[in-house]
C-alpha cells in the first residue's frame, strides 16, 4: 500500500522549446534489440545488446494559441529533432546533474500528430518520438 504521495514534475524540452506546462505524461523507454548469442553446447539462452530502439511518448493539452502545443509540434511532423526530459527543471538551463539527469534523444523522429477532441474534456495531442541517439546528460 502506498504510504506517500510523490508529485511528478518533470521538465520537457521539445526541439529546445519548454513544453512542461502543457505536458501531462512522459514515458521514456530505453530499449535495445536483444541478439541471440547462444551456440551449440549451451544449455541456456544468451543474449548480447543489439541496436538501440528508443522511444518517448508524450501527452499534451492541445492548445492552438501562439507558441503553444500546436505551434511547437506541427512543424516537427516528419522531421527529426532533439527532446530532453529531466525529473525536474534544471536550476541553470541546459545544466543537468546525476540527481537530475537530462534524458536526451537526439535525432528522434515524429511520424504523426494525433489531435484528440472529446466532448466535455480538454483536447489533447499525444505523440510518440521514435529512434534517435540516446544519451544521459549528467554534466
Amino acid at each position: 500500500m502506498a504510504t506517500s504521495t510523490i508529485l511528478s514534475n518533470p521538465h520537457v524540452l521539445i526541439n529546445a522549446v519548454n513544453m512542461s506546462d502543457q505536458c501531462t505524461a512522459a514515458n521514456f523507454s530505453i530499449d535495445y534489440t536483444q541478439l541471440t548469442a547462444s551456440s551449440f553446447g549451451d544449455v541456456d539462452n544468451k543474449y548480447v545488446k543489439g541496436l538501440g530502439d528508443h522511444s518517448l511518448t508524450l501527452s499534451f493539452y492541445g492548445s492552438f494559441a501562439a507558441t503553444e502545443t500546436w505551434a511547437t509540434l506541427n512543424g516537427l511532423v516528419g522531421t527529426t529533432f532533439t527532446v530532453i526530459v529531466s525529473p525536474e527543471a534544471p536550476a541553470t538551463p541546459g545544466t543537468y546533474s546525476a540527481t537530475n539527469p537530462g534524458m536526451t534523444l537526439t535525432g528522434t523522429f515524429l511520424a504523426s500528430l494525433p489531435v484528440n477532441f472529446q466532448l466535455g474534456e480538454l483536447n489533447t495531442m499525444d505523440i510518440v518520438c521514435t529512434g534517435g541517439v540516446y544519451t544521459l546528460d549528467v554534466s
Binding site: A16, V17, T67, T79, F81, T82, P93
Partner: protein, 59 residues
C-alpha cells in the same frame, strides 16, 4: 543570427544559438525565433536646408 521571440525558448529578444539536433525551420515556423539583422542601421542622409530668407526691399 536568430533572436528569441518566445519565453518558452529563453529570454525574449536575446540572441539564440541553436544546439545540435534542433530543427530551426520548425522554430521559425512556430514563431519561437526570428532572423535578426547583423548589420547596423544605416545612417540617415545628411540634408542641407537653406534657412536664409530673402526679403524684397523696395527702394
Amino acid at each position: 543570427m536568430y533572436v528569441i521571440l518566445s519565453e518558452r525558448l529563453g529570454t525574449v529578444g536575446a540572441k539564440y544559438t541553436p544546439i545540435d539536433g534542433v530543427n530551426i525551420e520548425a522554430l521559425i515556423a512556430g514563431g519561437f525565433i526570428g532572423i535578426g539583422s547583423t548589420t547596423k542601421a544605416a545612417k540617415s542622409a545628411k540634408t542641407e536646408t537653406d534657412t536664409d530668407t530673402e526679403t524684397e526691399t523696395k527702394d
